[in-house]
Assembly symmetry: C2
């Protein structure tokens, strides 16, 4: 035990899949807390890693995607991104693939902006954040049969107000934009 | 149909609970996409609403919580927050309750910073974001038996670099801090 026992990892006494489908997996753990208490119903969603891309064109436009999302049953405005395939272990390669497929965009300058947790209380995956500069639309979109994505662009200078106004209104997209704007010198560090 | 049929809500043909536990609920929908294609395995996690609070003291310190999170099996540094109880319908009241319980803090100036989606592809809940100013530690923490939370403070001026460095490293916390720093005039809008 450390001198901060409340930060010790929980001991996993048993583990089983409570939901095991290729599109959604939830693990049920029996864990012992630092207090010694044991609970048999701690659930964690096991998810694929995600890549998100803040792509800026030579004339300072940012690529966006507008699409219906079935969680809120609403249309959202976000940045291009998607899940890493099970056989992909390179987040940068996955980001380049997703940007090409979803927005038809290639970029010559890539900067990794770190990997962040999405919801660490309930799931195990990260969002791998990238800034892509000198981005150009070079082809049409290549979408899966379940993807209906309208690609848009916004002036880079309007992104902060789109965050504050709620035009961009989900946590992963705001986190990506914040780190990208910091890397570009448009938000203070 | 609108003139952008790809943004139309999906038609839900059937719906059932694939996992129905008080700590984790997943709904399985049979949906018809705008293309006409029908799939019987679109999963959405039904989750409680979340409140997150950026609490600033009179001497410009920000309340943080450090705790073990079982998703990544790692210790995270985040802002105070928690789930809204089923009988709570007022996000502000829930935020005031969570800040008092988790950090022992009361604040006299509250500003709503909007409600954002957490992961709209896979879940239906929002994060309700608040800025709490003139925040003061007035009592000890009141934690549930499964909560092990170390409360900390950081200088407000260091929050941007803590975001960029990865000291603050999850999407909801970064999104909250961004809107709060914008409301405080420390990030451009």
């Amino acid at each position: 035990m450390s001198d901060r026992p409340e930060l010790e990892p929980w001991e996993v006494l048993a583990s089983e899949m409570a939901l095991d489908h290729r599109w959604y997996r939830v693990r049920r753990d029996t864990v012992r807390f630092p207090s010694g208490q044991v609970v048999d119903d701690y659930f964690i969603s096991e998810r694929p890693e995600i890549v998100l891309i803040f792509a800026v064109t030579p004339d300072q436009r940012v690529e966006l995607v507008r699409q219906y999302k079935h969680g809120p049953k609403a249309v959202t405005l976000e940045f291009p991104g998607g899940i890493m395939d099970p056989d992909e272990d390179d987040p940068l390669g996955a980001a380049q693939r997703e940007l090409a497929e979803e927005s038809g965009v290639e970029a010559s300058e890539w900067t990794a902006l770190g990997a962040i947790w999405d919801d660490p209380s309930k799931q195990n995956n990260r969002l791998h954040l990238f800034l892509a500069q000198n981005a150009r639309r070079v082809k049409v979109q290549e979408l899966d049969s379940s993807e209906f994505v309208i690609r848009e662009q916004a002036d880079l200078k309007y992104i902060p107000r789109m965050i504050y106004s709620g035009d961009i209104n989900n946590s992963g997209a705001i986190a990506l934009a914040t780190r990208a704007l910091q890397a570009l010198g448009l938000f203070p560090i």
